[in-house]
Amino acid sequence: MTTPSPNHPTFTGNKALQIEEALSFEIGGLDRTGVDFPPAEDLGDRLGGLGRDSEIGLPGLSEPETVRHFVRLSQKNYAIDMGPFPLGSCTMKHNPRLNEKIARLPGFADLPPLAPQSCVQGALELIDMLAHWLKELTGMPAVAMSPKAGAHGELCGMMAIKAAIEARGEGAKRTRVLAPESAHGTNPATAVQCGFTVEEIPADATGRVDLAALKEKLGDDVAAIMVTNPNTCGLFERDIRAIADAVHDAGGYFYCDGANFNAIAGKVRPGDLGVDAMHINLHKTFSTPHGGGGPGAGPTVLAAALETFAPVPFVVRRDGEYHLVETQSAESFGRMTAFHGQMGMFTRALAYMMSHGVDGVRQVAEDAVLNANYVLARLKTEMTPAFDGYCMHEALFDDRFLKDTGVETIDFAKAMIDEGYHPMTMYFPLVVHGAMLIEPTESESKRELDLFCDALLSLAKRAKSGEAEAFKAAPVYAPRRRLDETAAARKPVLRWTPVIATE
């Protein structure tokens, strides 16, 4: 018998624990279902002649088939529960299961958003307590809780800024927003969604905002700057207060992208740095699970100057009772979402914060920064740090160490997959060539980091020793080899279409 290999695959295509799985539609049947219902009575209908006659065309599966389908799919995923997930800017930390348990208490999970307020006092209390934690940790007087994710929080902050500018009668004049070249793509996209135009602020040689260049761009037509701090190069903006002062002197506002708050939570209050608005990704800093791309939550803290423009709804406490204010004031810029925000993320985040306490939150920031600097120190013997000096919570490398090897950043990343790691963030930030941004978070042990660093050092040496072809072929042990993204975009197939049987 031939030993199975890519050239001699198994009969099934399976590889032991890796089991190939068809689409659910290719498994199920149109008359099949995995849910039992009581018999329906014949009452006639009151659908006004608009009942559905057409086929839906979606097969069903029995319960065991459904379980097996999704369990097999799950085994094709990498996850933080399996190993390091060092995606820079994404803060993939441990997701405590206590959070899941709290979120599933019927008093939270089975609670209708439009119940009378007398029936939801505990939920409003939780929102108010989480708001207190967020305000206290950031040193800001107000927080809008309803934004559904980081980018939605950015939108909330920039909407508040726009409302404030219009209230000053400067809406027509202040139309420019400045953001560093290294900004997350959401920043310029958000500014444009608010009707602003965006200009880039260049970085200086140390990877930080070029203060002189920023000052030159400031004027009475600037609405705001959007700056991430610590920034996307993993560095604290040393001139942050000078930046804030310059913007304020020019009559603009300082929006801070809080994606990297994990590095400084419990250590530094953004309010002390002159920030006017900042979103907080509860799914990054406060450990609510990323769930394969969401849901997130993006509560947005606001300075006193922006507080009155906050969206509805919000919670206030009066006479020992909590009230959900849903009616818009004249100043409020409006509403972000149908209900009150990501309650399921609030419960999880508060469980995490209470578990850590303020002492633990500070230790988190310190360990996250320590782990990143440890990785930086250990890897710089073979890899090339993009900037000199210490980093904050993430270590940024460029691709100089791969020069003339024939190996590119993407190949290096794909080779990490075969070593059992999720790759780091690659080709971001844009200001660094072939960027590799590593954020280990505080959740990794020294033992795990040592193995990770040893593996990357070994890969770097192999790249330099002329093994480019092996890198180009990676990954070979993953459930799939490299996928053809060009073909996917050229002729998009975005849904399953039933195969018509021909007889």
Partner: protein
């Protein structure tokens, strides 16, 4: 601390490797006077203490399952099969990131592809994306997409659109100085939307069943919208209705926006939910949000990747179709598992049971003196006109352990025409006893 693997010996050894004397040396870029601020917050607590404190808060709330329950208004109580919550708690789904490395994210990508297929089939549209935050934000995104398609700056909102959806859409469009024309709240579902569409109209947004529960025929609106070069956005807040009613696609909608919470996702006090978003093939490149597409790998095997990212913020930045990044991944999975279990056969049955529960509830309540069911046609939600202020009635019944519905005053505060309206939803969870209890208590509250 139980979540932190490093101990002090590790920390010292690591600082030594780094070449730093103490941890704060690593924070030397931070202005010294703001480093190590003090906070008025409690210190760490064990699992038992946290559970006790938050459990006490949960216990202060009245859950939907605690008694007779008839609240809808954009979020619906349905039975979720046990399989759903079990699978979404698997580590490989729960603790994965956005599938940017497709070789080790085929699990997420394949369910996104299945989800897109399900949403397209349910809505009768050609292509669906991998989700929005929820129905209301999807509604605003649809309006923004329509202005990109038509290059026009006027949105027309039906009087049957959930007022919070209207508010979210208005908030987004007014930023861009667009005109938003909203029809007055239309409890009877008899407004003539076609008269409001003109040559300047970018989109007309109509909900069905509407916020009062009326089933709307979109076909005549689609015809006029298309004749005027406008885009018809169909909003559905109750996904189960798609199993029982003509689909938006069949009625000529150009963009479908839905709240997918009803399938697989609990009420959760308003979120996280899952926004459904689908459109015609010809508008694909104007869509917001992530898309998953089929392709092959280096060995020729079928696989899936995120695709057409040139519409998205991480590639296109200020030229992106939307700023959305994180979406509703895990809620998508819950939706997909529930829909996979149901299949079309199960969904049709579920829809029928919902409709019947609503018919029975309506019959029981309309038998009460002074109570009028306004709707002619409805699915699982309808509106009553009471002889009294509905908010007062709802509060009174809540004190007696019954959650009666959404009073008009909650959704249209200050509108005297809405004060006596009560929007009532039923579902497969509604029992005959629930209906009898509700009817008896309502009769008592009105007498």
């Amino acid at each position: 601390m139980r979540y932190l693997p490093l101990n002090d010996a590790d920390r010292s050894a690591m600082l030594k490797t780094i070449g730093a004397a103490k941890i704060d040396d690593l924070f030397d870029d931070v202005p010294a006077d703001v480093l190590n601020a003090s906070f008025d917050l409690p210190t760490h607590a064990g699992e038992l203490e946290v559970e006790r404190a938050l459990g006490a808060m949960a216990a202060k709330n009245r859950a939907a399952g605690d008694g007779p329950f008839f609240i809808g208004g954009g979020a619906y109580k349905h039975h979720i099969p046990a399989t759903v919550d079990h699978i979404i708690q698997r580590s490989e789904f729960l603790t994965a990131y956005t599938p940017y490395q497709p070789e080790i994210a085929q699990g997420t990508l394949q369910y996104l592809f299945e989800f897109q297929t399900q949403v397209a089939a349910l809505s009768g549209m050609e292509v669906a994306n991998a989700s929005m935050y929820d129905g209301s934000t999807g509604c605003a995104e649809a309006a923004l997409m329509a202005r990109r398609i038509t290059k026009r700056k006027k949105a027309v909102l039906s009087g049957g659109l959930h007022p919070h959806y209207g508010a979210v859409t208005r908030t987004n469009l007014e930023l861009l100085k667009d005109e938003v024309v909203a029809a007055p709240a239309d409890v009877s579902g008899s407004e003539d939307m076609t008269a409001m569409i003109d040559d300047e109209t970018a989109c007309v947004i109509v909900q069905t069943p509407d916020v009062f529960g009326n089933i709307r025929d979109l076909a005549p609106i689609a015809e006029v919208a298309h004749a005027k070069g406008a885009v018809l956005v169909a909003v559905v807040t109750e996904a189960v209705s798609l199993g029982g009613l003509k689909s938006p696609g069949e009625m000529g909608a150009d963009i479908f926006v839905g709240e997918g919470q009803s399938l697989g996702n609990g009420l959760g006090f308003g979120g996280p939910y899952v926004g459904l978003f689908a459109t015609r093939q010809k508008y694909l490149r104007q869509m917001p949000g992530r898309l998953c597409g089929e392709t092959t790998d280096a060995d020729g095997k079928r696989g899936f990747v995120l695709t057409l990212s040139t519409r998205e913020q991480h590639i296109r930045r200020d030229k992106a179709t939307s700023n959305i990044c994180t979406n509703s991944g895990l809620c998508v999975l819950a939706f997909t598992i529930h829909m996979t279990l149901l299949g079309q056969a199960g969904l049709r049955k579920l829809a029928l049971l919902n409709h019947q529960a609503a018919c029975k509830t309506a019959d029981a309540l309309s038998a009460i003196n002074g109570v009028e069911v306004i709707n002619k046609a409805y699915f699982n939600e309808f509106t009553l006109r009471l002889p009294k202020n509905a908010s007062d009635v709802v509060d009174k019944l809540a004190a007696q352990g019954a959650l009666a519905g959404v009073p008009g005053g909650r959704l249209w505060p200050g509108d005297p025409g809405a004060e006596n309206l009560l929007i009532v939803a039923a579902s497969e969870c509604t029992t005959d006893v629930d209906i009898e209890t509700f009817a008896a208590k309502l009769r008592g509250a009105l007498s």
